[in-house]
């Protein structure tokens, strides 16, 4: 058993935990922006998506550092098993256990996203819903174990992260755009949205220039392959 007695490991654990919480807040918010189809004018939609992906990598890196330093540090008796299996830690059994649940959920979301091009999209989406639960458990873990998160600035950070993601979740649930949300009055799906909308949707500022390739729907239908 590696026992390292430097206090900096413990400081690193605390700092990276806080930074990972902030980063996962940003990742969840950006993911909500992608899902609610923000962007397309000033910032491209794909740019928000790319930022969501890149930041999730950074967040996972901080999370891994957070867990590595916790396990390596001899100040708290938390072993390798406790990082994955809940309720196995001698130190703060319940709170670290919730953190293990959060890590498992985030790991599932992360691995499924790495395999995104190889697995069915519906599978990926199903696993991706668990990121909300992963964030919630991570937040509870941060509040329960955090040395800094129950008073002062740390509490402000944790409460802000909770508030931001709660707003994102509500927006995701209630503000979710239907398919073809109000693009045109001809769309049958636009009626429910248009009834609640105060102002009609303005047309796009610059209509796309006509291109030489044929745009007949009949031809594109014929070209479509099976999946």
């Amino acid at each position: 058993m590696i026992a390292l007695t430097t206090p900096y490991l413990w400081y690193t654990t605390r700092a990276t935990g806080m930074v990972a919480l902030i980063l996962f807040t940003l990742v969840a918010s950006l993911g909500t922006l992608v899902a609610n189809r923000i962007g397309g004018t000033i910032v491209g939609r794909f740019e928000i998506n790319e930022l969501h992906r890149s930041l999730s990598m950074v967040a996972v890196t901080f999370l891994v550092i957070h867990i590595l330093t916790t396990v390596l540090d001899s100040y708290v008796a938390t072993g390798w098993i406790s990082a994955f299996v809940p309720m196995t830690s001698a130190y703060k059994r319940l709170a670290v256990g919730i953190g293990a649940v959060a890590f498992d959920l985030i790991l599932a979301v992360w691995i499924s996203s790495l395999l995104k091009l190889r697995i069915a999209n519906t599978t990926w989406r199903f696993i991706h819903w668990f990121s909300w639960m992963g964030f919630a458990t991570a937040l509870v873990h941060g509040y329960m174990t955090g040395t800094d998160s129950r008073s002062g600035f740390g509490l402000v950070v944790v409460a802000s992260c909770a508030a931001v993601v709660a707003c994102a979740a509500l927006w995701r649930f209630f503000g979710r755009p239907t398919r073809a949300a109000g693009r045109t009055a001809l769309s049958p799906l636009a009626t429910t949205k248009a009834a609640t909308r105060a102002t009609p949707v303005p047309p796009r500022a610059t209509p796309p220039a006509p291109r030489p390739f044929p745009t007949s729907p009949a031809r594109t239908t014929k070209q479509r392959g099976p999946r």
């Binding site: 992608v34 939609r45 998506n49 001809l186 769309s187 070209q223």
Partner: protein
């Protein structure tokens, strides 16, 4: 392999059941994708030669960037079309 990949051509295809009209493909590959009034893609139907590296790169970005994975690149070899 690199040589063989450059012979032939490709078309971008969409699975219309998976597509939800996010519009990422039209941003990532404007050479190949237009959107209709509802935000769904209209794809360029004639094959693009693989020697057109810029367009092929755009197509790969669009394939990777689709939130529903509804796009895929269909390669057409030179010897046996389709």
């Amino acid at each position: 392999m690199g040589v063989r990949r450059r012979s032939g051509s490709f078309v971008l295809r969409v699975n219309p059941i998976l597509c939800d009209g996010f519009g990422h493909c039209a941003e990532l590959a404007p050479e190949l994708v237009q959107t209709d009034e509802w935000g769904y893609p209209i794809l360029r139907s004639e094959p693009v030669p693989l020697t057109d590296a810029g367009v092929f790169e755009s197509a790969r970005y669009a394939e990777r960037g689709c939130p529903r994975q509804a796009l895929h690149i269909h390669r057409i070899s030179e010897k046996k079309p389709q």
